[in-house]
């Protein structure tokens, strides 16, 4: 294993992580909800009275966040190497997988691990390993 020092951003990632933690704390302590993005979005597809507005508001905040970020700092550049067919397949897998797996990187990987949920620990290990293996296959075996 070699470390990619060129792209390594420990401080930006640590401070960004703290902000993500604060956002989760805010939603938990004020709204009583877990900041799991796939759950918040997914449940909008089976809307229940009285349970819609906070979800829409959270998603709206997430979507407009780059516009607010750009007022204060320069947005970091995005590099998306995947082509459109790959993006469609990846999106479908992420959509189906996060609903059956009851969470994603935020709900399991941050909130679930923070409250030491056994299900979230298992899910996080599973999706991390699947991510490692998929990238290994795509980058090192398939070409």
């Amino acid at each position: 294993m070699t470390i990619d020092w060129l792209h390594f951003t420990p401080w930006a990632s640590l401070s960004g992580g703290i902000v993500i933690g604060l956002a989760s704390a805010l939603l938990l302590l004020f709204n009583g909800r877990i900041a799991g993005i796939s759950g918040i979005v997914g449940a909008l597809l089976r809307p229940q009275r009285g349970d819609i507005s906070w979800r829409l508001a959270f998603v709206a905040g997430l979507v407009i966040s780059p516009l607010v970020f750009a007022l204060v700092a320069q947005l970091p550049s995005l590099q998306i190497d995947a082509g459109y067919p790959t993006l469609v397949i990846a999106g479908l897998l992420v959509g189906v997988g996060t609903r059956y797996g009851a969470g994603c990187t935020s709900g399991h990987g941050i909130c679930g691990l923070a409250r030491r949920s056994p299900r979230s620990i298992a899910a996080t290990i599973a999706f991390m390993c699947a991510g490692f293996v998929t990238v290994y296959i795509v980058r090192h075996l398939a070409r």
Binding site: I37, F58, S65, P66, G91, V96, T105
Partner: protein, 152 residues
């Protein structure tokens, strides 16, 4: 339930994702590429978020209601079943293919061009597929087990 605090939480969450580098798929894939030039940055995202979130959960456990008076809804299930693991593996495969997970994909919609939009539409379609399958499954009466259905 109060949408203002949810909006601020979403905004802050997106801010953290952008600042940390999580919205950049090439950085995410650099973290997942253990065999290549490995970028360990994203482990620091977890390292920053976990202690803050853990503290919040500790506070939440001592309260019966949230600050705004809502019930605190924490999952209670502890069962690790095939559904959970298969779902997480499926999600991880999709994550590794494009470098997008749900939060960063939504947070880059407004500045990432057409690609995040295509990913998000496909992700919503995947979630809708889950709803359709689960609803169809719920409406079909449970099949009698072979023993009970045995003819006399």
């Amino acid at each position: 339930m109060n949408p203002i605090s949810a909006l601020i939480a979403g905004l802050l969450f997106g801010w953290g994702l952008i600042g940390s580098g999580m919205t950049n798929p090439s950085k995410v894939l650099g973290f997942l590429d253990l065999a290549g030039a490995w970028d360990p940055s994203l482990a620091f995202v977890m390292g920053g978020a976990l202690p803050v979130a853990a503290l919040a959960f500790r506070v939440a456990r001592q309260r019966s209601k949230s600050i705004l008076g809502n019930p605190i809804a924490l999952p209670t299930s502890t069962r690790i079943d095939r559904r959970l693991v298969a779902g997480a593996l499926t999600f991880g495969a999709g994550w590794g293919l494009a470098g997008f997970c749900p939060g960063p994909a939504l947070a880059s919609l407004a500045y990432g061009g057409a690609k995040p939009a295509v990913f998000c539409i496909a992700m919503l379609a995947g979630m809708a597929l889950f709803e359709v399958v689960e609803r169809a499954r719920a409406s079909v009466p449970a099949q009698p087990s072979p023993e009970r259905a045995g003819r006399h």
